[in-house]
Amino acid sequence: MRKIWDFHGGIHPPENKAQSTTQPIRFAGIPQRLVLPLQQHIGAGAKPLVAVGDRVLKGQLIAEASSQLSAPVHAPTSGTVVEIGNHPVPHPSGLADTCIVIEADGQDEWIARQPLANPDQCAPEQLLAHIQAHGIVGLGGAGFPTSIKLAGGQGKPIQTLILNAAECEPYITADDMLMRERADEVVQGLQVIAQLLNPEECLIGIEDNKPEAIQALQAACAGTKVEVVVIPTKYPSGGEKQLIKILTGKEVPSGGLPADIGVVCQNVGTAVAVYRAVYHGEPLISRITTITGAAIAQPCNLEVLLGTPIDFLLNQCGFKAAQSNRLIMGGPMMGFTLPGPDLPIVKTSNCIMAVTPQELPPPAPALACIRCGLCAEACPAELLPQQLYWFSRSGELDKAEQFNLMDCIECGACSYVCPSNIPLVQYYRHTKAEIRREREEQEKANRARERFEQRQARQERELAEKEARRKARAEAAAKAQAAKQSAVSAAPDKAAVIQAALERANAKKQSVTQPAADLATLEDNLKKAKAKLEKMREMLAEAQAGNPEQAAKLENAVRKNEERVRQAQAALDEAKAAATAQPAATATEDIAQLERAVARARNKVDTIRQAIETTRAQDPERAEKLEASLQAAQAKLTEAEQRLADAQKPAAPAAPANETASVEELEQQLQKAEAKLAKMQQALDDARQNNPENVEKLTRAVEKNQVRVEAARKALADAQQQATASAAAPKEEAPSVSLEELEIQLAKAEDKLRKMEQALADAAPENVEKLTRAVEKNKVRVATARQALEDARQRVAATSSGT
C-alpha cells in the first residue's frame, strides 16, 4: 500500500451516487437543434469560422481559438448552421452569449478524421498541437484548456502525474461510469499525457466508494507503470489541491500552480478525450453527463453531444416536471441553479440535477454568525471563513485578500456546516469577483493614465514643433526681406565689385613696380597652369574615346586653361619687362639727387670763395684755412660732377626700352579689342538670323566696341609718337610718367563703365533706372579722364618741342 496523506477539514455529505449507476452509459441521441456557445472554457471565446446557411459535418471546426488562452469548437453532428447569435447559456448569471446554432440533418456524417499515425513516437509539440486543435479542455468542471495546462508543465520537471478520479461531489457518477466502462481508454489517454510530461510516477487517485471503477482501472493498469491509489471518501478530495495533498503530501503554494511543485493533475474525462483525439482523430464533441435527482425517473449517465438542449436529455430519463422545483448544473455543493431547461450542454456540464423541494430544500434565512468556528474546521484550504465573511460583508477587499480569499476553492464545505445557514460561498464568490474587478479597473486606470500622459507629451511636442516651424518661417521671411533690400541696393554692391577690381588692378600695378619678388610666383603660376593644362588635355583625350558628353565639357575646360596659361605667360613677360625697366627708373632718381648734390657743392664753393675774399683783408691766417676748405669743396664738386656724368650715361638707353614696352602692350590691347569686335559682329550676325530680340543689344555692344577699338588705336599712335619723342628727349621723364598714369586712369574708367553697362543689361527692371544714372556718371568721368589725358599729351608735346 502506498502512503497517503490527509487534507485539513472536509465534510461527508450524503453521496446519492447509487441512483445513477444502475444503468450503463448510453448515447443520448441527436437532437434537432444544437446550440454551441463559443465560450465553453476558461479564457477568450472562440471565433466563428462558419456562416449562417453553411453545411457542417460532424467533427468539423466551426470556431477557432481566438487567442492563446482559448479553445476551438467543433460541430457535434452534421447539419446546417441556422443562426449565430445570442442565446442563453448555462451560467450562474443566466445571461445570453454568442452561440452557433446547428440544425441537425440526422445523417451524423463524419468529416475525415485525422488521428496521429504514431502517437508513441510523436514529438511533444505535435501532441500538444493535436490536443489543442481538437478543442480539449478540462472536463472536471473548470474547463481550462488542456494543451495550455500540459504545456505549462513541460518546462518544469514533473515528478507526479495525477489522474483525478476522485469524483467527490455527491450525485455525480459520470467519471465513475466512464472508468467502469472505458478503463482502457482512460489508461491510454493517461499514457499519452505521460508521454508529454515524462513524469517519474503516474497515479490515479480514486475514492473508495467506487469499487467497480477501481477494479476496472486496476485491470487496465496491469502491466503499466500507472498506479491506482484508493483514497478515503471525503468531500472535497476531488479538488485538485486536495488530491495532490492526499497523494503526495505536498501543498500547492498560494497563487501558484501544481506544476510549480512538480505535479500535474488531469481529470479522467479529459484523459479519455485526449485518447479519442490522438488515436481516433475525434475532437471533443461529446461528453458523459449524469442526469439525476429525485425528479428523474431513471437516473443515468448519457453520452451527450455538446449543444444538446437539457430538456431533450431530461425527457429521455423520465423527468417529472411537476415535482421538480429547480434544475441544477453541477453537483449540489458546487453547482448552480439553471434558469430553465432549454439550455445546452457544454464541455463542463458533468451533471444535471432535477431536484424536488424535499430533496434539496431552499436555503433557510441566514442568521447571525455566532463565531462557532465550524467553518474554519471544515475548510479544506485552511482559511478563516468567518473572518472572510466579515470582510466580505463590509466590503474590505484588501483585508479579505490579505486573509487569502483568493485561495478559496468555493467548495461550499463552510456553508454546509454553518449552523446559521449563512451562504458563505456566495459572499466569497462576490468578493472574489469584486477583487478581480478592482484589479482590472486598476489596470484600466493605469492604461488610461499612460495614454493621457502620452497624449499630453505628444501635445507639448507638437506645440514645440509648431513654434519651431513658426520661427523658421519668420527667419526665412526676414532673409527674403534682406535679400530684396540687397537686390534694391545692387548698384552699391556692383560698386564694391568694381572697387575690388580696382584694388586688383592696383595690386597688379604694384607687382609691376616690385617685379623681382613676384617674378618667382608668376613663374610658379605659369608652371602650375601648364601642368593643369597638360592634365586636362590628357583627360580630354581619354574622354573623347569614352564619353562624348564629358568630352565637350572638357574641351571647354581645356580652352579656359589655355587662356589662363596665356594670361600667366603675359603676366610673367610684363613682370620681366618691368624688372629690366626698374634699374633705369632708380638711375633717373639718382641723377636728380646727384644734380642737386652738384648744385649744392657749387654753392658751397661760391660761398667759400666770397668768404676768402672778404677775410683776406682782415685776417690772412683765416683766409689760408678757408682756401684749404675751398680746395676740398672744389674736389667734392668735381667728384659729384663726375658721378652725375656716370649716372646719366646708363639712364639714356633705359628710357626708350620702357617706351617700347608700353607701345607693345598697347598693340596687344588693340589686337584683343579688334578680336572682340570681330566676335561681336559675328554674334550680331547670328542673332539677326536667330534672335531678333537681342539684335538691338548686340548692335549697341558692337558700336561700343568699335569706339573702344578706335580709342585703343589712338592710344597706340599716341604712345608711338611719345616713344619717339621720349627717345629724342630722354630727360623728359616726369611728364611721360604722369601721362601713363592718366592713361591708366582712363582705362580704369572705361573698364568701370563697361562693367556698369553689363550690369545694366543684366539688372532687374526695378534697378535699371539707378544703374542708368550710374552709367551716365561714369561716362562723364571717362570723358573727364580723356580730357585730362589729352591735356597732358599736349603739355608733353609742348615741353618736348621746347627742349
Binding site: 434565512p365 459572499y427 478581480r436 488610461a448 493614465r449 493621457f452
Partner: protein, 196 residues
C-alpha cells in the same frame, strides 16, 4: 573636570558625524515632488473627465494633497473616497453628486451621422477616438473611460454615452442580502420563526 570635557568632546564629535550623515542623506535621498500626490493619483479612476472641477485626475490628486475635499471624484464613487480616506487618515465624506454614481459608460458614435470634423478626437483625454478629417470616427471601446468630454464638442450630436452592458464576462455574484439587516435584534429563540 577632564571627564566632563571628554564627554562634551565625544558628544560634540558624535553630533558632527550624525549631522554630516543626515545632511548627506537629505541631499542624496531627496524625494522629488510630493509622494502623496502619486499615491492619490493611483487611487483615482483616471477617466480624466474633469467632473471634480480639475483638468484631469492628477490635478485633482494635487488639489487633494493640498486640502481639497476627497469626495469630488464622481466616476470613482464611494470606493475611491474610502480608499483616499484610508490613505490620508481622514473621515470619508458622502459623494459630492446629485444622484448615485452612474454605472460604467462608454462613448458610442452613430457612424452614419458622423461628418468627420475631428473635434471629438481633440477632446478625448485618452486618445480613444479613431478617425481622420472628413472620415468617419469611431470609439475604441476598450480604451474609452466614459468621461463624456467628447459629447459637447460634437457639432452634429452623433455621440452618445452607453452604459457598458452586463455580459457573462463582466457578471459577478451578487452579495447576499443578509436577513440580519431587516431584523438585527434576532435572538436564539427567534430561529424557529426565521427558518419558516
Amino acid at each position: 573636570m577632564s571627564i566632563i570635557l571628554t564627554a562634551v568632546l565625544c558628544l560634540a564629535a558624535l553630533a558632527l558625524i550624525f549631522g554630516a550623515i543626515l545632511g548627506f542623506a537629505s541631499i542624496r535621498f531627496r524625494v522629488e515632488g510630493n509622494p502623496i500626490v502619486e499615491q492619490i493619483d493611483s487611487l483615482l479612476p483616471q477617466t480624466q473627465c474633469g467632473q471634480c472641477g480639475f483638468p484631469g485626475c492628477r490635478p485633482y490628486a494635487e488639489a487633494v494633497a493640498n486640502g481639497e475635499p476627497i469626495n469630488k471624484c464622481i466616476p470613482g464613487g464611494d470606493s475611491t473616497i474610502q480608499a483616499m480616506a484610508d490613505l490620508l487618515g481622514v473621515e470619508p465624506l458622502p459623494l459630492d453628486a446629485e444622484e448615485e454614481p452612474p454605472v460604467k459608460h462608454v462613448a458610442f458614435i452613430r457612424e452614419e451621422e458622423c461628418i468627420g470634423c475631428t473635434k471629438c478626437i481633440q477632446a478625448c483625454p485618452v486618445d480613444a477616438i479613431l478617425g481622420a478629417a472628413k472620415q468617419m470616427h469611431t470609439v475604441i471601446a476598450d480604451e474609452c473611460t466614459g468621461c463624456d468630454l467628447c459629447i459637447e464638442p460634437c457639432p452634429v450630436d452623433c455621440i452618445e454615452i452607453h452604459p457598458i452592458p452586463e455580459s457573462i464576462q463582466t457578471w459577478s455574484w451578487e452579495l447576499p442580502q443578509p436577513a440580519l439587516n431587516k431584523n438585527p435584534a434576532i435572538i436564539a429563540t427567534d430561529r424557529e420563526e426565521a427558518t419558516v
